[in-house]
């Protein structure tokens, strides 16, 4: 049942990304290009998503999920160097291609070659970061 819910949520997420234009890097780059021919689409996507998710998250705060024991939600609130550095590095990559992880997966069926190339390098980058993280915490001991 949790699998069915996750698949449905994925389907809804992918549908939202596709009809909103977020799956199209040209639209995303058009938003990030403030001094060019600015395309506000991403702003409306964020407004639509947050208009639902903000009240929903507040309403569900601390509630037991229907199909799980507890909510698995990050509990940290400290702003540390990995967070800032990671967000900055992510921002450079996002600005270079206009693709972030969600749209990368959703565009797989539309542009298989480019999407695969991006997803494989993204996966390598993720594993690299985890390896670096382990080495640093290992040498600190």
């Amino acid at each position: 049942m949790t699998l069915l819910v996750a698949a449905f949520a994925g389907l809804l997420f992918g549908t939202g990304l596709t009809i909103s234009g977020m799956v199209n890097p040209a639209v995303v780059l058009g938003f990030l290009d403030l001094t060019g021919n600015w395309n506000p689409a991403l702003l409306f996507v964020m407004i639509g998503a947050l208009a639902v998710a903000v009240p929903g998250y507040q309403l569900l705060k601390g509630r037991r999920p229907f199909l799980a024991e507890t909510q698995s939600i990050p509990s940290r609130s400290d702003i540390d160097v990995p967070l800032l550095l990671g967000a900055a590095i992510f921002g450079v990559g996002w600005g270079l291609a206009g693709i972030c992880p969600g749209p990368a997966l959703t565009m797989l069926a539309i542009k298989p070659t480019s999407a695969s190339l991006f997803i494989i390098s993204m996966s390598a980058g993720m594993l690299g970061a985890l390896w670096v993280g382990r080495s640093i915490s290992g040498s600190a001991k």
Binding site: S20, M46, A49, T70, L84, V92, G93, G102, F118, L130
Partner: protein, 137 residues
């Protein structure tokens, strides 16, 4: 105010928000795609819900194409640049523990200070990057 410039982005955004709430209300999970994908490739606890979510999101444009609304994808980035961008997006989202969906939507919605800061940082850096690439480089 055309359909594709306002209504569809708003409607798509609402769908993304509802998807995040469904995942939280039923499974108690955060809809952060970078975390979902890195958990999947590390095979941390078998395929499970992460694979189901990914398959759902990959299938979505196929369903829309059947309904006569295939997604438009224009990529002008060269292959080497796609690889560099992918490496940076993967490395950065793993180090910063989140991406546009996890920090930008779920984290912002629960007013997480980490997510608000991360979202402001990656938005600002991406805007500067696009400026440098398009108007300076």
């Amino acid at each position: 105010m055309t359909e594709s410039s306002v209504i569809l982005p708003l409607a798509g955004g609402v769908m993304i928000g509802v998807a995040a709430l469904i995942l939280l209300a039923f499974n108690g999970r955060v809809m952060g795609v970078s975390g979902i994908w890195s958990g999947l490739i590390r095979w941390s606890d078998g395929p499970g819900w992460r694979l189901a979510f990914v398959l759902g999101s990959i299938t979505a444009p196929l369903g829309l194409a059947l309904l006569g609304r295939p997604g438009d994808v224009q990529i002008e980035t060269t292959a080497p640049m796609l690889i560099v961008a992918g490496l940076l997006v993967g490395f950065g989202s793993a180090l910063g523990a989140g991406c546009t969906s996890g920090h930008g939507i779920c984290g912002m919605s629960r007013f997480s200070p980490r997510s608000i800061v991360a979202t402001l940082v990656f938005m600002a850096v991406a805007i500067v990057t696009v400026f440098l690439v398009r108007h300076v480089g």
